[in-house]
């Protein structure tokens, strides 16, 4: 309030330089990740990681005995022994690519989603930071490419329902449950949906970004107003499409791995995980960009709002996770409980508790006070914890269904996400630097509100 009168749009213009130092940091992170991933791949390829210790075999037996009852999506007449024979280490590589592509595609598309929400709600506080999540959007087409590639490369290993023999009646391989889902889960329709979702997300991002940059060049108020109205319309359109498509994408890309199983919460569950990871990534990006000397007028008040977002949606994710878990636990129907038996009754069990601690207990207690939401260091710690937690969350959604008892968290799992982090950070920085003077949306009609934001 006291800052009235000192607001000058032209003075807020900032140009982001993609410095050599930033590039070096990004390449170092990606390089270390790549080394880890390569070590993991070599270990897997030379089969030294193949000898599972006692509890893995035990859990394998659990999975095998489950499959004998015909309740899980394991190959026809699946026995544990057959599985050992079928398993090839590249399967694990494919599953990891799938986890990373989905996780990072989610963060990228959440950037666009965040901007869209701000426009539809006519929020003013975020006007100063909106170019950061907006730049996330460029990663959508890139990770969409990764996703498509991984699907073409490994659809048989990732998705049990892609096997033709499941649909031939009166053969030993026939699976009535999966055959019943054939109208929805078939390759042409599935790939069609995938292409449409990814293409429309990219298209909406492209239009939003183009309109947003055009706003900077506007000279009159009428022009700015027109751009703003355009933005609201585009955002509303995107939100409607994303509301449906994010849910369907979750069914397709994650839920259908456990083909026999189903959960009506799943769309929300994946969205909640994406959304809070995206918010943590946006918070982290803003802090890192600010610490590099940009976004000068962004202060702890704006960060406080981002902190509240991360705090609130960590609880939201837990609410969704627990709602799904409690109903299945309480009803105790075999075809539903299989999902949690595969996770809590096997060597995956520790990961379930790790995600609950990293995604709920830690951010809940750590971000509770006002001060911890306003300081760089506490926000960075919380954001990184949430990002790691949700990466493990996605790993836990996908791995038990694809790799069964062969999945575990090793060098490959620890290294590959950092390669993706590197790619992601490079895309964001490159695009922030590409358009001159575009780090702050200087003509945003609500920029003054963001400038004077105070909580």
């Amino acid at each position: 309030m006291a800052a009235h009168g000192t607001f000058d749009r032209e003075k807020l213009v900032e140009h982001f330089e993609f410095s050599a130092k930033a590039k070096k940091t990004i390449f170092t992170i990606a390089g270390i990740g790549l080394i880890f991933a390569l070590i993991g791949i070599i270990l897997l390829a030379t089969d030294s990681g193949h000898d599972e210790h006692a509890n893995l075999i035990e859990s394998g037996n659990t999975l095998a005995s489950i499959s004998e009852e015909g309740t899980s999506g394991i190959e026809a007449g699946g026995h544990g022994d057959e599985h050992h024979a079928e398993y090839h280490w590249t399967q694990r590589l494919k599953a990891n690519f799938w986890v990373n592509s989905i996780f990072f595609l989610g963060i990228a598309v959440i950037g666009v989603f965040f901007v869209a929400i701000q426009y539809v709600a006519t929020a003013g506080w975020s006007a100063g930071i909106k170019r950061v999540p907006e730049a996330f959007g460029w990663a959508v087409p890139v990770f969409a490419g990764f996703l498509g590639f991984t699907f073409i490369w490994g659809n048989h290993e990732l998705f049990h329902w892609t096997h033709d023999y499941l649909y031939v009646e009166n053969t030993p391989g026939y699976d009535a449950i999966i055959a019943g889902k054939a109208p929805y889960l078939n390759l042409p329709f599935f790939s069609g949906r995938m292409i449409v979702f990814l293409a429309v997300w990219t298209l909406f991002f492209y239009l939003i970004r183009k309109n947003s940059l055009a706003e900077d060049k506007a000279t009159s108020f009428d022009e700015v107003y027109k751009k703003y109205r355009n933005m609201v319309k585009l955002s509303a359109g995107f939100l409607v499409f994303f509301a449906v498509s994010s849910s369907m994408a979750a069914w397709d890309w994650v839920l259908s791995i456990d083909t026999h199983w189903f959960s009506t919460m799943f769309g929300w569950y994946v969205f909640a995980s994406w959304w809070v990871s995206g918010l943590a990534a946006i918070t982290l990006a803003i802090i890192l960009i600010k610490e590099a000397g940009y976004l000068k007028f962004i202060n702890e008040n704006h960060l406080h709002d981002m902190g509240k977002y991360v705090f609130a949606f960590s609880i939201f994710w837990t609410y969704i996770w627990f709602s799904q878990f409690l109903l299945i636990y309480y009803a105790n129907i075999p075809e539903e409980t299989i999902y949690f038996i595969e996770r809590l009754g096997t060597h995956y069990a520790p990961a379930v508790f790790v995600i609950l601690i990293l995604n709920f207990a830690f951010p809940f207690l750590f971000l509770m006070t006002r001060e911890s939401k306003r300081k760089h260091i506490t926000l960075k710690i919380a954001a990184i914890a949430v990002l790691i937690g949700h990466y493990i969350d996605f790993w836990l959604m996908i791995t038990p269904g694809t790799l069964k008892e062969h999945g575990s968290f090793g060098f490959l799992e620890a290294g590959l996400p950092f390669v993706f982090v590197g790619i992601f950070a490079y895309i964001v920085c490159y695009n922030l630097a590409k358009n001159k003077d575009s780090l702050v949306a200087k003509n945003h009609p609500l920029l003054e509100e963001a400038y004077n934001h105070h909580i």
């Binding site: 309030m1 006291a2 009235h4 627990f322 878990f325 409690l326 309480y330 006070t369 006002r370 909580i455």
Partner: protein, 221 residues
Amino acid sequence: MAATEAQKMELNKHFVVGVFDDEDTLADAITFVKEKGIKIHEVFTPYPIHGLEHKLGYKHSWLPTAAFLFGATGTTLALIMQIGMLGVDWPMIIGGKPFIAVPDFIPVTFEMTVLLAAFGMVGSFLVSQDMKPHKVPRIFDRRATDDKFIMAIDLAENTLGEEQLKEVLKEAGTEEGTEEHPAIFRKDFTDEENNPSFIGYVRKLFSEGVLANDTSRPVKS
């Protein structure tokens, strides 16, 4: 216990009140008045103004801490209650689950946490703000709930006299004021407003019936 005359004087509060036209003048006036070394008792505005609490030098509220403690109490009580009832006192097999099936207890635990945190926070707020039933509010100027911004300075808390304080307030930029509603005025509160008695309040409730006839409350100006 009858208060002595001196104690009564202590309880009897005297204020100098300034009326301002808008939030910016008020904000500037706060800085101006504080720079003169004058302690401001309180300001009243028709709506919350961000940043004013920093200008006035308010400490952070301890209500969030109270809420957390009440919430933690709720969590503990709920868990003890359910484990005690279903695990110890009267174990029952429900849906083939163990007697102490923690996931089943979470919804009730959550509700108890929220309930105690909410009630506890409201209760703490009422206690901390001294909002008891027989409280008679000190109203400096009713226009603070409409379109004016009020600053009250306690005479007892400042060394400057009434006239000097009025002079400072005038310099700080109070509104024009009218004959009926002066911009700067002295406000004294009665003993009853300063120190309402609970017994008197109850007696009045019984003898006069309803609060509508409560003459101890300030009449509309």
